[in-house]
Amino acid sequence: MTGYLNALLQTALPHVAQPVVIGVGIAYFAVIIAISVWAARRTRTASDFFVAGHGIGLIALTVASVSTSVSGFAFIGGPGLIYTVGLAAMFIVLPASVTNVMGAWVLAKRMRLLGEARGLMTVPDAIGARYRSPAAQGLSGVAMLVGIIGYMATNALAMGVVINAIFGVGIGWGIWLGMGVTLAYSVAGGILAGIYNDVFQGTLMAAASVLVFLFVLKVGGGLGDISNTILGADPKFLSPWGKMTPLAALSFFFVFGMGSLGQPQGVHKYYMLRDPLQLKWYPLLKTLGLILVLLLYFGVGVGVKAFVTDGTMAPLSAPDQATPSLLLTVTPLVLAALVFSGVAAATMSAANSFINIGAAVVMHDLPIAFGRRLRNELFWGRAATVLIALAAAFIAQNSGTMVAFLGIFGWGLFASTLVPALAVGLNWEGATRAGAIASIATGLIVTLSLETAAYAKVFTFPSGVTASAVALVMSFLMFFLVSWITRREAPAQIDPDVKLIMEL
């Protein structure tokens, strides 16, 4: 998986600094700044800053959630991965057909009601409340911080690459320019700026994705002709497992399906919905939105394979060139400009979300774990936001290939440390504090040690097995085993309001 996920780095985008592209890019940044100024004027408390005062409407929350669910990987690395391994890469996004409604059933109602009853703001808050345990809250916060550092550094580098492609300013300046804009709106307007920028960015991504997909179908003569072209040259590409083993493709489905329940950038949005009853339509709308945004992932990956096969496009110098080469060869320049802005949008949106979540861990969850709360959470939240963003940009610029390593395990780390304790724990009264802490610790230790061993090449996984999958399975088993061993303690570890919320 390491080799495939290195595609996340996107370090080889061509320069497209032409007047149309620059013009669309400037217009994009102007809208971002305007939204941020508006949001900054409405941010007055820590609750406004971290959960938008529990006051976001259904449509805004849905579009924002789609936007943060999709990183630059869906636009650049993902199509490149399909181009390389065939349809096996679809197993990363296929779980979207069930994950949103699964999250709604398993987490949304209970987390939103916990927000209602206790004014919770963070994912570790929910773990702390469920088990009456500052230690579990702090440990999950530490695990999240480790994952956030990786995600942030990867997104900072991706921003640098995309901004360099649009404006031709160099990757280093691109990192600081992109992070500077993201930081400005994160500090000033907190999650409120993030949410409404995500609404704009998500709309942009969906529009770009649908237009590119339709262009691919038009140029390729429809999906049937595209398939026939590929089948004539490389039939294995269109087998369900592509060029990977069934075990590897199914592992993608497991980690990205079950793991979705532990992704804080999606899960903590449940706190923000103004009216809990609006959750009724949330999974349907979010799933439809995701399908639109992911059309590009499938369309470009398969389309470019066909176009290179029939000579419409020249062979790619690297898989990551799939999207940019298609845009510069087949589609009108204005659409290319829209997609490049969409990629910038995806990376900035993801970065903003992680900055906000990381800041909440630093100034809220960790102090609670140590038994002391900060007085001015809004001020310290803004300070933590600046520090995290600067650290991410610094790491992105100075750590070379280490960034790829950090970016690899983010999803798996969130999954293995949070899914059992949070998703199962909020739905099973027999889960215990010891089970939750053991599970979080197992996920953290197993993910870090296996990924480090694999990165350092002291250990090689058998085909189809990944550190993320092994860590998630071990974390589940540890959670059930320790909860069973300590089952007598379970009833005393649930407060009455939490118990009521779990029963509803």
Binding site: E116, R118, L231
Partner: protein
């Protein structure tokens, strides 16, 4: 104790937990088998093909269960999604590979690919989110649920009972 909790064993959640543990164990065995000399045996992907839908279905049931009322009308949608995912994976594993020049296409894709992309990737969307919305008021959340939570939270605050925070 709420009106819905009642006494007795919660069979729905017990079943869901057992199914989740069994499914995760099946997945664990599949991964463990891949470490054997000679690589993963041919049955390993089949364990994932059944274990993954089992795990996802079980955790959905666990989340959707409401007090002792269980999952009510949601039995059918959950059964449907388990069958769609499991049969989709198993058909992709079991059907002969027909991906070749001139192969029969189903909605523009070779048959096995079409089963995976349309069956697993799109079919659940038609059923699950709609089932969630249709049963939301009775199975998931109502105004009286929210009121119940607010009243209890207020009572706890008024009594000065400290939470962990």
């Amino acid at each position: 104790m709420t009106a819905e909790s009642g006494g007795g064993r919660d069979f729905t959640r017990s079943f869901a937990r057992a199914a989740l543990v069994a499914s995760v164990l099946a997945i664990a065995v599949a991964y463990a088998s891949a470490f054997a000399r000679g690589g993963a045996p041919s049955w390993a992907p089949w364990l994932l093909a059944l274990g993954i839908p089992g795990a996802l279905g079980a955790i959905m049931i666990l989340g959707a269960a409401r007090g002792r009322k269980g999952i009510g009308q949601l039995k059918l949608p959950f059964l449907f999604v388990f069958v769609v995912l499991a049969s989709g994976f198993c058909l992709a594993l079991g059907l002969p590979a027909n991906e070749a020049p001139g192969a029969t296409l189903l909605l523009g894709l070779p048959v096995r690919a079409a089963i995976v992309i349309y069956g697993i990737g799109l079919l659940p969307i038609v059923v699950l989110p709609v089932a969630y919305a249709i049963t939301f008021d009775t199975q998931t959340l109502s105004e009286s649920d929210i009121q119940q939570v607010r009243e209890l939270a207020t009572k706890i605050r008024d009594n000065g009972e400290a939470h962990v925070k």
